[in-house]
Symmetry: C2
Subunit: 355 residues, 2 copies
């Protein structure tokens, strides 16, 4: 199962997107919605979020076919005020629900200066940065929070896995520099990284997981016997908790014991919660001046003297941007295991394979 | 300089507050403003934020007397929209500026559902939780970000200290349980903790600081030769960066190279930036139902099975609440070194000492 680089074929974004659309339509998603999902999932792969793009497609299909996801949702606002809305996703695909939520936040921020949109009855929506970045085109800052779809994190000092890796993403526009786009889980490693280590037969560094006695757990095949560690110990626990309260509990979405482990359950709706905030930079003053200040800061950071052995200072979002440029040019890598899974999916659904 | 417990006398909150007010009035702060500062600084001490209450008073006075802080500021809104405001603190005491900003956010959130208030030309305002907690009394969630007043953090992999420990605080109301109040720096340890270790002659655990070669730095007396480590490595660097962009750069406040080290500079205005967000829980639905969900989550976490050796699961804000209850009853501890500093301050200003 090793991802031997020479075996990793590449597909163009257009071909990948068309494949995702075919699959989505085949399982009953209307064509317009399938196009949105294809575009957003492909954008995730282009941006290097390998665990959050087409990699998830077989799982999405399993859950749709088991009736856990509504392919024809009536996504709607169920509560609103000038600077907020609560969106009920009607158990639709998370990409559709979150696009609606982000567009709602952007629209409201245009008149209110800032808008906060909470979401319930959504589903896994791919990488957090996708949605935090949507306000950028409007000279707005985006901030996104979510409740993860599987609990791998206990309270600090606890053993019961009541929390997920609840991520935060923040996207801030610059002028000549790329936008600053932070996208991070509140655990040292996201669970997807553990699964990748297991798949590759590698061990995990100490600090990713501990077992139920508190000892470091480094064998990813034993991941089920332990749990993820939050960043900064009790601090990361606190972040996972408050992000979950904001994205989940406030919106009436699943949090804590109500979170459905969507990796091990194909039939139960997840009631996934998210929150997206759009902040209109224009409301705070001159946008160009603001963006110039972001440029200046980014350049100061990048020009910093470095620790021995460090080849470059990274700005959050740079890695994604580099991946995007490279993959737009050379195609999106599809490792053999993923290709097999997608071929099997195509065969089962009798749609044209990725090719 | 050891804080021998038997030598730590205690003072009542009322006496401490009156002392802070006397000092503030003596250096030219109007009586009403001095009362606000006295109340907020005392609240910090009651809540156990020992490095952010009266401990800071001698430094505040030094900076006021050196002309770095405006004792009669015209704090005002310089830009606004229905759900946001930008506040210019006119270089006044941070407590006054942030109280104004929090009240503005609460007022606007009452009509807009959510409001975001940015702040520039402020100063050190004490603990982040003070301001994040202000919306709680209005059944609102509070979220606070700030740019710290000294850069002790480089970019990840860098050596130039361009970032501060930029904190986040989030306060979420519960029904029968105490509110969840997270207040944390984005570094493993706040710089104040390093100073406390140095004062006590103790060594720091590995993981707090590294030196300029990347090796662990555990002697707090050598703190000047190294820098703080962010939580979760590059993740904490990312958080410090985006929180600083939101609290500082967006508002035209100091960030990056413009941050003034107020521990080593008594004369330069800091142009401190903050951001406070108020989120009206009522806008999202039934408030009682929401608070019950928070209660249920808190109880699930607290009832969790525990790691060996862990005596209790802590909820963010519990420690402060316990300190507050104990200190309201028994008084606020004033260690000998702090008492000497406050006595010297009283003597210099010719005001009645703390007693």
């Amino acid at each position: 199962m090793s991802d031997n680089a020479s075996m990793v074929r590449r597909v163009s974004a257009a071909r990948l997107q068309a494949f995702i659309e075919r699959v989505c339509r085949e399982v009953g998603i209307p064509a317009d919605d399938a196009a949105v999902i294809g575009e957003l999932m492909t954008r995730a792969d282009l941006n290097g979020s390998d665990g959050h793009g087409v990699f998830r497609l077989p799982q999405y299909v399993r859950r749709i076919q088991a009736g856990a996801v509504n392919v024809r949702p009536a996504i709607r606002i169920v509560a609103e005020a000038p600077a907020m809305a609560l969106v009920d996703g009607d158990n639709g695909m998370g990409h559709l629900v979150m696009r609606f939520a982000a567009e709602t936040a952007i629209r409201k921020a245009k008149s209110a200066g800032v808008a906060w949109v909470g979401v319930r009855w959504s589903n896994h929506a791919g990488p957090a940065a996708l949605y935090a970045s949507m306000p950028l085109a409007h000279d707005m800052i985006g901030l996104y929070l979510a409740v993860g779809n599987a609990n791998h994190l206990p309270a600090w000092g606890g053993l019961d896995m009541l929390l997920s890796t609840n991520p935060i993403a923040v996207a801030i526009p610059a002028l000549e520099e790329m936008p600053v786009v932070l996208d991070m889980a509140t655990t040292v490693a996201a669970y997807g990284k553990v699964k990748t280590k297991a798949q590759r037969g590698e061990t995990m560094p100490e600090g990713w997981m501990i077992d139920r006695t508190g000892r470091p757990l480094t064998d990813p095949k034993r991941a089920g016997e332990g749990f993820l560690l939050p960043i900064g110990g009790y601090k990361g626990y606190g972040l996972a908790l408050v992000f979950g309260l904001l994205a989940g509990t406030l919106n009436g979405a699943a949090m804590g014991r109500d979170v459905v482990d969507f990796n091990n359950d194909d039939t139960t709706p997840t009631n996934t919660g998210h929150a997206i905030v759009a902040i209109d930079a224009k409301a705070f003053g001159d946008v160009i001046a603001f963006k110039r200040r972001v440029d200046a800061l980014v350049r100061d950071l990048r020009a910093s003297e470095r620790l021995p052995g460090v080849d470059a200072i990274r700005i959050p979002g740079e890695g994604s941007q580099r991946a995007r440029e490279e993959r737009l040019r050379a195609g999106i890598p599809v490792p053999p295991a993923l290709r097999s899974a997608l071929d099997a999916l195509a065969s089962k659904l009798r749609v044209e394979p990725l090719g």
